[in-house]
Symmetry: C2
Subunit: 195 residues, 2 copies
DNA sequence: TGATTATATGAACATACGTTCAAATCAAGG
DNA sequence: CCTTGATTTGAACGTATGTTCATATAATCA
């Protein structure tokens, strides 16, 4: 017996995960059937259930994996000390990370509403943790008079929306590199919040 | 015979449209069945087809109506002359308009991928028209040395993403009014682009 | 090789989908 | 009141959905 156990211990086959990620991003969770995923993997639909307990768990697992990696990589890259340097680091990290995995980013806010409540709450808590890192930077910088931000919570939302928006237009291989985009956006963010 | 004619002339019943808008925004186009819409309207599913030729046309009609109103209202509110004043006017208009109809805004970029190609192209053209208005302002201001924007196309995307992001957190009746939000965001936008 | 375990198949299940249409109901005017 | 036309019903259509499971195949290791 190899059927996957409870939802906490799915070790979904990577090919199933990759295929589901791509199809969910392209057509949306509700519009992609388990049979479509199986077809792209090259397998009959029943075989998918050796790798996930159900479709909802597959979606949740993709979003959870994405958020876990976001927080892990962010922790690994946070080394600066002054608010200004920390903000620049955050901006560059956010753009680089998000441009590297557009599909995971896309479904991670597009398919949130298709999560069952408990799963939704778990993903939202992780997102909140990430946003709080930026807010802390903005608050520290404001306290140190490096930034002039009247409302740190709003500024956090504004900066994150602006940065994540890059994914709506950026295409790898286009006129600009990730580093180019980072330079331009960092310039705008800095001027928007600097004292 | 009263069945709706071709998709160009649907005069969908307002209650059907309102219900569909709300359900599509809450659960997503693919997850909402015609039977669910009918149930909320208080009618059997067959009756819906007196008001729309099919489900896809219903979605398209909602998005088209939203974009048409966006462009019409924008045209009615564009009166300023200097780049700085025009930018402020655009920022305040965008926030006010979007905060007023969060559900229409939500489905208008969330359900784009569920449009058939021809319908998608039509909505995208309207969106592009709107974005071009902002880009023109940024270019004029840069030429007049009022703004310092290295890449007007990127700055356009950045500003629009930042402004539209308001809809992800704003809730009517909360701590801030639409005017408060406009003040705070205009302050950030101005500093991000000003020379 | 033979036994054991891990995967894959193919068919079935109950349910849901978008759409159509004859028949029933309703609204308005003469 | 009766006719005419607009609207709604209720049932049916073919197809698709997520999930299960006995059976068959493939891989692993003694």
């Amino acid at each position: 017996m190899a059927r996957t156990a409870g939802s906490h211990s799915d070790i979904t086959g990577p090919k199933v995960r990759d295929t589901a990620l791509r199809l969910f991003a392209r057509h949306g969770y509700a519009a992609v059937s388990m049979r479509k995923i199986a077809g792209e993997v090259g397998v009959q639909v029943g075989a998918l259930y050796n790798y996930t307990s159900d479709k909802q768990t597959l979606l949740f697992s993709l979003l959870k994996g994405h958020m876990d990696e976001l927080l892990a990589q962010r922790a690994a890259h946070a080394t600066a000390t002054t608010p200004m340097a920390r903000l620049e680091e955050f901006v560059r990290f956010h753009i680089a990370f998000h441009l590297d995995r557009p599909e995971a980013v896309f479904i991670s806010y597009m398919e949130l509403r298709n999560l069952e409540p408990a799963n939704f709450d778990e993903i939202e808590a992780l997102r909140r943790t990430y946003e709080d890192e930026l807010e802390t930077i903005l608050r520290d910088g404001t306290a140190a008079a490096e930034f002039a931000v009247p409302d740190t919570r709003l500024a956090t939302f504004a900066v994150i929306a602006m940065l994540t928006g890059v994914n709506t237009w950026y295409r790898a291989g286009g006129r600009l590199s990730s580093a180019d985009v980072q330079d331009i956006y960092w310039n705008m963010v800095r001027r928007a919040v600097a004292a």
